[in-house]
């Protein structure tokens, strides 16, 4: 009985500790969401109160109206366009490059593989300045070209992940198809692509989410309000009207995270798989 009680106490302590810490971890997020219903006074002077004293649903409408005659609807559409087109480009080109590096024995394969691994370690900010100069010379600063173009070249992080996946596909499948008269191009389209679907979905989720969150890109390249993405608009919104309307700011902060929340709820598994695979084999 004593043994049993001790075990139970350990069990309770464990859950109180782990659960309590978990609550602490998501507290800022919950505070933000509930803040979207509060008035300024409560947000500024009674930060410790979690629940709204009165529920101000109008914050959402005020926030959504945006500013300078552009609503958050516009910014949402912009973000979706940039994120979706970059993501689709990354998926296709990363799969192509992964196929070449993992399956085709061509001259220079080792060299390009090394370069690919190298770019994974290369911090993006190092080439931010010269990249800007290139886009500036091309006359595309202010358009979405600098935000999307880098993704049509495949991305090392995903190429590497897909290579791991492709090496798990039995070579016999390729060989059998080859004997049946399928070309190397056909093998990619009919065998490799369908079989690496989980890796493609992981890429879809992670890349979409990275691109949705991206702040530095729009900050550098986008200036006109009708082109602003959600993250960039939110920062400007906070700078101009946040001072007077914190509730609306938190409402739009929450709105800006909706896609991320949806991914978290429905595709969590792919995120986790993606993260843990690269970590283990890296």
């Amino acid at each position: 009985m004593g043994m049993h009680a001790k075990k139970r106490l350990t069990f309770i302590c464990y859950h109180v500790f782990v659960g309590g810490l978990g609550l602490l971890m998501i507290y800022p997020v919950v505070w933000m969401i509930l803040g979207a219903f509060k008035d300024n006074n409560q947000i500024l002077n009674n930060a410790a109160q979690l629940l709204p004293a009165e529920w101000h649903f109008e914050n959402w409408k005020n926030g959504w109206n945006g500013f300078m005659s552009y609503t958050f609807g516009t910014f949402f559409k912009n973000s979706l366009f940039v994120a979706i087109s970059s993501t689709l480009a990354t998926m296709l080109t990363s799969a192509m490059v992964a196929y070449a590096l993992a399956r085709i024995k061509f001259k220079g394969r080792k060299l390009w593989f090394t370069c690919m691994i190298g770019t994974m370690m290369l911090p993006g900010q190092v080439i931010m300045i010269p990249q800007y100069m290139i886009y500036n010379k091309l006359g595309v600063v202010g358009t979405y070209v600098p935000l999307i173009l880098p993704h049509v070249f495949g991305q090392a992080f995903f190429i590497y992940q897909m290579m791991q996946f492709i090496s798990g596909v039995p070579k016999e499948l390729d060989e059998a198809a080859y004997i049946d008269g399928c070309s190397k191009y056909g093998i990619f389209a009919r065998i490799i692509l369908p079989l690496i679907k989980p890796a493609l979905i992981t890429t879809l989720i992670i890349q979409f989410y990275w691109k949705w969150d991206d702040f530095m890109g729009p900050l550098i390249y986008v200036s006109r309000p009708e082109k602003w993405t959600v993250s960039f608009a939110l920062k400007n919104f906070a700078d101009t009207s946040g001072v007077s309307d914190y509730g609306a700011m938190f409402a739009m902060s929450t709105v800006s995270l909706i896609p991320v929340f949806l991914i978290f709820l429905f595709f969590n598994r792919y995120l986790v798989d993606g993260m843990s695979q690269t970590g283990l084999k890296g």
């Binding site: 971890m25 803040g35 930060a47 290369l122 991320v260």
Partner: protein, 306 residues
């Protein structure tokens, strides 16, 4: 007619050659690598030796940017110092936290997987502008953190207005996002054979002891991987300091990436910003190298011949 067929056959045999197919599929990466990585890097090496404001032609000034940076720019040295300070606190704290929580959550049942999801959420939202705005509010003078401090009988801290304290919210927002490292550790923990722990238990080892003598050595390659990746991204921290502290007060959180951004895009000193980018790259390479060198002494790789 015959000649045409021959040419067609020849073309067909070429496009199915491995060398050709390989380059067709690898082409996106090769074009991007050369055009948007190698060329920009060489360009920035050139521009780092010029004075360039984007509008007028660059003026060649040799190593003057580098000399200015190392001998005449107090703000540069300060930005290096605060970046190191940030990395030295944020990265180890984040990894220790990630490892401990991963260790706590090794059991496999429904409730533990819910916990894991909850702990993972911050690293999913933490890089966003939205959370940075929340953070700014949490650490404001009358914000939640100060309310808690007052509640437990301590004094308010002027987090965002003080040169001493302003780095703390930025370190905390990074540590808070320990979830992705935790996921990687959790995957690594699963790979450790349960028999190791059972054997240790029979020998009378406590949980703490088996953590130190089994878990840590078995995980050391993954710890190294996380350490390198987190250190590199630590040196690049931008959005949070841009939104929460704007590098202030008095440059106390003027991290190097933020300083490069400001030199390049605000003051239009593209040459100087290029030079700083190169110094940053060298610095990161050096730090990574040191980590790898030091790791030889503590990273444990399972012998492959057994």
């Amino acid at each position: 007619m015959e000649k045409q067929v021959g040419a067609y056959e020849k073309l067909k045999s070429i496009i199915h050659k491995n060398d050709f197919v390989g380059y067709v599929f690898a082409a996106p990466f090769i074009v991007g690598f050369l055009g948007f990585t190698v060329v920009p890097m060489l360009m920035s090496l050139y521009y780092s030796m010029t004075e360039y404001d984007l509008t007028s032609a660059p003026i060649w000034i040799g190593f003057r940017n580098y000399i200015q940076m190392f001998t005449g720019d107090v703000r540069f040295w300060n930005s290096i110092a605060v970046t190191f300070k940030y990395v030295l606190f944020a990265v180890p704290l984040k990894l220790v936290f990630a490892l401990l929580v991963a260790f706590l959550l090794t059991r496999n049942n429904r409730i533990v997987s819910i916990y894991r999801a909850v702990y993972y959420l911050p690293s999913l939202v933490g890089g966003s502008v939205a959370v940075s705005l929340v953070w700014k509010q949490l650490f404001s003078r009358k914000g939640l953190i100060n309310s808690v401090l007052l509640g437990i009988g301590l004094e308010r801290i002027n987090w965002l207005g003080s040169e001493v304290w302003s780095i703390v919210p930025l370190i905390l927002i990074t540590v808070w996002q320990f979830g992705s490292s935790m996921i990687i550790f959790a995957a690594g923990l699963k790979e450790i054979p349960g028999s190791y722990y059972e054997a240790a238990k029979i020998d009378g080892a406590t949980t703490v002891k088996s953590f130190i003598y089994i878990t840590l050595p078995c995980l050391s390659p993954i710890i190294l991987f996380n350490l390198v990746m987190q250190t590199i991204s630590g040196f690049m921290v931008f959005t949070q300091s841009f939104v929460i502290t704007q590098g202030g007060p008095n440059d106390a959180t003027n991290f190097i990436a933020l300083y490069i951004y400001n030199q390049g895009f605000r003051y239009k000193n593209m040459g100087y910003a290029s030079a700083m980018s190169w110094v940053l790259l060298m610095m990161i390479a050096l730090v990574t190298l040191i980590i790898f060198k030091v790791s030889d002494h503590f990273v444990f790789y399972e012998a492959s011949d057994n």
